[in-house]
Symmetry: C2
Subunit: 406 residues, 2 copies
Amino acid sequence: MARLVKKFGGTSVADIDRIRNVALRVKAAVESGDQVAVVVSAMSGTTNQLVNFTHNVANVHDAGEYDAVVAAGEQITAGLLAMALQDIGVRARSWLGWQIPIETDGVHGSARIGRIGTEGLEKIFAEGQVSVIAGFQGVGPDNRITTLGRGGSDLSAVAIAAAVNADRCDIYTDVEGVFTADPRIVTKARKLDKVTYEEMLEMASQGARVLQTRSVEAAMKHKVRLQVMSSFSDEPGTLVVDEEEIVEQEVVSGIAYSNDEAKITLVQVADRPGVAASIFGPLAEANINVDMIVQNVSADGQATDLTFTVPRADLDRSIKVIEDSKESIGYRQVTPDPDVVKISVIGVGMRSHAGVAQRMFKTLADKGINIQVISTSEIKVSVLIPAEYTEIALRALHTAYGLDDE
Amino acid sequence: MARLVKKFGGTSVADIDRIRNVALRVKAAVESGDQVAVVVSAMSGTTNQLVNFTHNVANVHDAGEYDAVVAAGEQITAGLLAMALQDIGVRARSWLGWQIPIETDGVHGSARIGRIGTEGLEKIFAEGQVSVIAGFQGVGPDNRITTLGRGGSDLSAVAIAAAVNADRCDIYTDVEGVFTADPRIVTKARKLDKVTYEEMLEMASQGARVLQTRSVEAAMKHKVRLQVMSSFSDEPGTLVVDEEEIVEQEVVSGIAYSNDEAKITLVQVADRPGVAASIFGPLAEANINVDMIVQNVSADGQATDLTFTVPRADLDRSIKVIEDSKESIGYRQVTPDPDVVKISVIGVGMRSHAGVAQRMFKTLADKGINIQVISTSEIKVSVLIPAEYTEIALRALHTAYGLDDE
């Protein structure tokens, strides 16, 4: 007997038929003897409808009211799934964030989870019943509903799994697991059986979009074994686990890409102390996250080019900030470029293997792809290249690191 | 300065435009210096959608899960109205049943309200803010959401008004008030300026459908002044008040009708002690409410005809119960008749005036309408007649009692 927390996302519960399918899956787990708690997102259509309502009703309003409205979506799914389970003979009850309670810091729209009450959940486990928990929501110190931000139901599931010491937290989604690369682009991509938290974190934040970053961080912190799997098939998915659990570690476990970034180049920036602060200070004040930065050494000691990346959605705002600071920075020209992609090679095995970055550079060079910016961390190498080369680069790197499914 | 509770039903908040209209109305009241709390129903479309979801997802389920799902409807409206108010500069916050709390007995689907917490609401009044309260919902002793049954938002509003000692509870609906008769049938019907709780109760339970019966009972018990008014016009509505508040009381204040009943006649029932019990016992056990009963005196002391009415929706079930008990009752034939209407003449002035019933009987006789069953109470006379005469009877009685708007 294992204790499992199973999380089903918005597409997995998008309509009544899918909710009934989820109920069948949960029933199968219960009948195999497992203790099961389920965390659900809102039906994807419901979320869209509620968000549209809030956009249409008011321009200015408290985030707390937004939370009260959108949290209704998960409430509806939780009740409906409990009903669907009861209908097929599985004893179940729904839980809302405030009922458990899932206590949060009260920051509406992006609350952090604090204490989680386990007494009620343990009682339901002990009775052999299934708890169906509304994801994405908690309750603040003022007794009002808070939501956890985008992808918050993943975080709810991991936090519940940690609180009740679950043996595993299964995240059901519309893909079969974590792949060595995006299978829509790299047809030879393989599903990974296991991946480490660190790698998953890099993949999530590098655009792999399978799991919400905060949920992976929480799983790593609390040592919650995660499984990412499809809600539409019976295949096992990908286990996200501690490094020690993976016996034979590949040097590189995956290639991720992100086209959410844009490049900005400042031409002929004065090469003097404090120039970086004069550029990145105003951007930080405008709440713009700068990711990659490269500064050429100037030949004459007077002026150099400086390139960095920002979220593509913030590109126009960034340009405005830079132009407003033109006098204090001192540069000849600012050149925006949204047509870039960041490709990342990820693997904890890199720590003990040399030559990983070199293979990346050579592979791209062989394809005639010019690298614009490079950044590295302990377990990844990222490069910025022109967006049009995305597919070529991903496929070539996938082959070069021996990841192809033969 | 008055303290007001204003309740807006499902059609008054049916879409985003109407919610913004409600916000403007509330703003006007706030700007005239009143303290205002608002109770809202679910958007009518949302309720339908949620109820459909529950019907499609399961045949068998706990009423508690149904409550969790449908209560989301009022939660959504409360949040949206608070947002709409904030958007036009009115400080407001939403409240859910469990937050106030509105404590109930925990009977899902038809909970009775117990204690209502007023501390939070009083604080919001004192700050000059508007509380926007989700109607129809409360919380049970086990901390789960309960709903109050059909029309429960009216009851929420009255209970809140009683708890915070409001000067008045305004029920906004899609009609302009309480009329002397249904204005769609009786074109000369007049809107009543005032009506007593007792009359309103008779009108509500006799099919006037303006206010939910339980909410009128609660208003009477707690002496809450009610006003029924239109959410689509600025006219004053009808005040529902204590009898003492009405100086010049008409003998008859209104004519109501109900086509929710059906007639059953048992032909040649044995005229012996205990026969009534043998008929109405099994019906009561089947949870069927019998309303009017008439038993003819038998000429020969052996057999008589017996006629009674049941809710039309229960007619088939009632016939089955009667047929199953044929042996113990003893009758020759059972005749169902769904084509009947109950017409009621209502007025507290009847208590001190004779001849009210006689005028009704004469008026109907003059129109050639045969009365099938008669029942009376202190402040009403009801008759059952063939349904086809509904309009003729209503108009003739309206004229006969001097109610016509000249």
